[in-house]
C-alpha cells in the first residue's frame, strides 16, 4: 500500500518519529517538571512504537513497563515529594542558550551529515521474523551472551549497593 510514494510502514515510522521528537522537545522546553516527566513518558511510548516497527515486541513491552512504568513513576514521586514542581529553577542566560542551540544544531547537522550516506551503504540485513520474540532473546541471552548477562547482575547489584550507600542515613562520623 503506497501513499504518495511511501509505504505504510514508512508512513507509520514518519508519524511516530515526528511525535516522538515533538514530545522530546516538549520535555526540554516545558517549564513545569511534572509536565516534563509526563512528556517523557509519552516520548518513551513513541520509542516503544519504534521497537514494534522493528519487530521487537518484547523489547517494546519491557520498555514501557520499565521506563514509562517504573522509572517515570519514581521520577514523579521524587518531584512531587520534594515539591519541585514550582517554577524556581534558575534561568539560564541568553548566551548560554544560544550557544547550546548552536551546538545542538551543529551536532544535528554533523550527525545527519554522517548518517546521510548510510542508506546507500548499509547492508540490508533482514532479521528473522522471530527476532524480537522472548524465546529468541532468551536463547541468545543464555547462550552467547550468558557471561555479560551474569555480569550485568553484578552491575545491578553494585548500583543497588551504591544507591543504598548514598541513601543510607549516616549514623556515625564519616568513614571516608
Amino acid at each position: 500500500m503506497n501513499l504518495l510514494g511511501y509505504s505504510l510502514h514508512q508512513w507509520v515510522f514518519g508519524v511516530l518519529s515526528f511525535i516522538t521528537i515533538v514530545f522530546a522537545l516538549m520535555v526540554v522546553f516545558s517549564r513545569n517538571p511534572v509536565n516534563s516527566v509526563l512528556y517523557l513518558v509519552l516520548t518513551f511510548f513513541g520509542i516503544a512504537g519504534h521497537y514494534l516497527l522493528l519487530n521487537a515486541q518484547f523489547l517494546a513491552i519491557v520498555h514501557i513497563a520499565v521506563y514509562a512504568g517504573a522509572i517515570m513513576v519514581l521520577f514523579l514521586f521524587v518531584i512531587m515529594l520534594m515539591n519541585l514542581n514550582a517554577d524556581d529553577e534558575p534561568q539560564k542566560t541568553m548566551s548560554s542558550k544560544i550557544i547550546a542551540g548552536v551546538l545542538g544544531g551543529l551536532l544535528l547537522f554533523v550527525i545527519v551529515g554522517v548518517l546521510r550516506q548510510t542508506a546507500q551503504i548499509l547492508p540490508q540485513t533482514q532479521g528473522a521474523a522471530d527476532i524480537g520474540l522472548v524465546k529468541t532473546l532468551g536463547m541468545v541471552l543464555f547462550n552467547e551472551f550468558l557471561f555479560p548477562f551474569e555480569i550485568i547482575s553484578i552491575l545491578l547489584l553494585a548500583a543497588l549497593v551504591g544507591a543504598i550507600m548514598i541513601g543510607k542515613r549516616e549514623t556515625t562520623e564519616s568513614k571516608l
Binding site: P123, F145, L146, F147, P148, E170, S174
Partner: protein, 458 residues
C-alpha cells in the same frame, strides 16, 4: 578468569559481612582473596589455555593476565591506603564490595573480547566510583564530585554506546575480532562506522581524562575522598587505559588509522594543557589530577605510536605499573598529611622517611633516572620516535615532560625547604611503609627494568 570470579565472590562476600558480623575480618579476607587472585593469575600464566570461554566474551591470555595482575596488585596496595585513611576503623563493607566490583570491572576491561563485555566493564568500573566519589557524606564537595562524575560519565557512556551501536551497524557483530575482520575487509569505511569508532575512542578519552574530555578529573579528584581519588587516579584510570589500548591495538589497528591524528591532537592538547595548568595548583589532588592527565597523554602516545607490538605492550606495562606505584605512593602520603601544598614546607624535617618515599614517587613521575618512571617515559619516546609520527610531537612531549619535571621538583623542593620553622613536634618515625614500599619498588624496577619492560617478546 579465576581471579575475576574470586574478586566478584569477594565482593559478594563483603556484602554479607554486615549481616553475619564479620566486618572486622573483611579487610583481611579481602587481602587474602586478592592475593589468591594474584596466585590464580600466576597459575594461569603457568598453564596457558587455548580455548575462549563464554563464547569468546572474555579471554585471559598472557597480556590480560599481566595487566589484570597489575590492577589487582595495585588494589592490594590501595587497600592499605584506604585503611590508613580510616585510622584503623572497620573496613566499610559497602565500600569494599563496591571497590571489588569496580576492580572486577577493571578486569573485564583488560579481558574483554566483545564490545558488550567492554561496555559492561566500563559501567561496572564507573558506577561504584560515581557512588564512592560522593561517599563523603558531610562534604558538599564530595557530593558535587559524585554528581559531576555521574552526569559527565553518563555522557561518556552514551557516546560509548552510540559508538558501539554504529560499529555494530557496520560490522554486524560485537566481537572485536569480527570487527577487526570487517574493518580489514573494507577499503573505504562508511562515514557512520568511522563516526562509531571515533565516538568509542572519545568515550575512552573521557574515561582516561584526555583533553578536551578531561574536565571532570580535577573537580572530581578534588571533591572525592582522598582514598577514592587514589583509586580513581590509579586503578580505574589504568584499567580504562588497558581497554583503550586493546581496542586500538586489536580492533582498530591498520589499515584504517585515520583516528590516530585525532588522538594525536588530543594527546598534544592534553600535554600542553595539563602541564601548564598544573603549575599554578595549590592543592595536591588537583595537581595530581593534571599530572594524571599528562600521564594519560603519554600513555596515549603509546597508542599513537602503535608500531611494534611487543614494545608497545612492554611500554604499556612499564608505564602503567610505574604510574600506579608512584601514584599510590604519593597518595599514601596524602591520606595522612592532607593535600595542601603549603603544608608540606619542611616536611622532610618532620618525616624524613616519608619525604624520601614521596620524593622517589615524584621523581618517578617526573621520569628521572633511575626510577621506573624514567624507563617508562623513555620507552614512550622510543616508540614515538620509531613511529611515523612527526618529530614535533616528540618535541612537544619533551617540553611537556620538562614542565612536569618543574612542578614535581618544585614539590620536592617544598618538601625539603628550609623556610619552614623548626619541626613541629617530634620527628615522626611511623614509617609510612606503603609509600616506602612503592618507592622501593620504583627503584627496584628502575634497577631491573627488564622485569617489567621485557616481559613480552612476541
Amino acid at each position: 578468569m579465576i581471579a575475576l570470579f574470586i574478586i566478584i565472590g569477594n565482593g559478594l562476600l563483603a556484602l554479607l559481612a554486615e549481616i553475619f558480623k564479620f566486618q572486622k575480618f573483611i579487610f583481611n579476607i579481602t587481602f587474602v582473596l586478592l592475593l589468591a587472585a594474584l596466585a590464580s593469575n600466576y597459575w594461569a600464566w603457568q598453564h596457558p589455555q587455548a580455548f575462549a570461554p563464554f563464547s569468546n566474551m572474555i579471554c585471559f591470555n598472557m597480556l590480560e593476565l599481566v595487566l589484570s595482575s597489575l590492577l589487582i596488585a595495585a588494589t592490594i596496595l590501595w587497600l592499605f591506603i584506604q585503611r590508613a585513611s580510616h585510622n584503623h576503623q572497620t573496613f566499610g563493607t559497602d565500600l569494599s564490595s563496591l571497590i571489588l566490583f569496580a576492580l572486577a570491572g577493571g578486569l573485564l576491561l583488560t579481558a574483554f573480547q566483545n564490545l558488550t563485555t567492554l561496555f559492561i566493564g566500563v559501567e561496572l568500573l564507573s558506577i561504584p566510583l560515581y557512588v564512592l566519589a560522593a561517599s563523603h557524606k558531610n562534604s558538599a564537595d564530595s557530593h558535587e564530585a559524585g554528581f559531576k562524575y555521574l552526569i559527565l560519565g553518563a555522557f561518556a557512556s552514551a557516546l560509548l554506546l552510540f559508538g558501539i551501536a554504529l560499529l555494530y551497524g557496520g560490522a554486524a557483530s560485537f566481537d572485536i575480532n569480527a570487527i577487526q575482520a570487517y574493518l580489514n575487509a573494507q577499503a573505504n569505511l562508511p562515514a557512520f562506522v568511522k563516526m562509531g569508532m571515533l565516538l568509542l575512542l572519545i568515550a575512552f578519552c573521557f574515561k582516561v581524562a584526555i583533553a578536551p574530555f578531561h574536565f571532570w578529573s580535577p573537580d572530581v579528584y578534588e571533591g572525592a575522598p582522598m582514598a577514592i581519588t587514589a583509586f580513581m587516579s590509579t586503578v580505574a584510570k589504568t584499567a580504562s587505559f588497558y581497554a583503550f589500548f586493546k581496542i586500538t591495538m586489536v580492533c582498530f589497528n591498520a589499515p584504517h588509522t585515520f583516528w590516530i591524528s585525532m588522538l594525536m591532537a588530543f594527546a598534544v592538547l592534553s600535554l600542553i594543557l595539563a602541564n601548564t595548568s598544573a603549575l599554578g595548583q595549590k592543592h595536591l589532588k588537583r595537581l595530581f589530577a593534571y599530572s594524571g592527565i599528562s600521564h594519560s597523554a603519554f600513555l596515549l602516545l603509546i597508542i599513537i605510536a602503535q608500531q611494534k607490538q611487543a614494545l608497545s605492550v612492554n611500554a604499556l606495562i612499564m608505564y602503567t605499573a610505574s604510574y600506579m606505584l608512584s601514584g599510590l605512593g604519593a597518595f599514601a602520603i596524602l591520606v595522612k598529611h592532607g593535600d595542601v601544598i603549603s603544608d608540606y614546607a619542611g616536611f622532610a624535617k618532620r618525616n624524613p622517611t616519608s619525604a624520601f618515599s614521596f620524593s622517589v614517587c615524584l621523581l618517578s613521575m617526573a621520569g628521572i633516572p633511575i626510577t621506573a618512571g624514567f624507563f617508562s617515559k623513555y620507552m614512550v619516546f622510543v616508540l614515538l620516535l620509531s613511529s611515523s609520527v612527526s618529530i614535533w610531537v616528540s618535541v612537544i612531549a619533551i617540553v611537556a615532560a620538562l614542565i612536569g619535571i618543574y612542578y614535581y621538583i618544585r614539590l620536592i623542593t617544598q618538601l625539603y625547604s628550609k623556610t619552614a620553622e623548626e619541626p613541629q613536634g617530634p620527628i615522626q618515625t611511623d614509617n609510612n611503609w606503603i609509600a616506602l614500599l612503592c618507592a622501593i619498588a620504583l627503584l627496584v624496577i628502575g634497577f631491573f627494568p627488564q622485569s617489567l619492560g621485557g616481559i613480552f617478546t612476541f
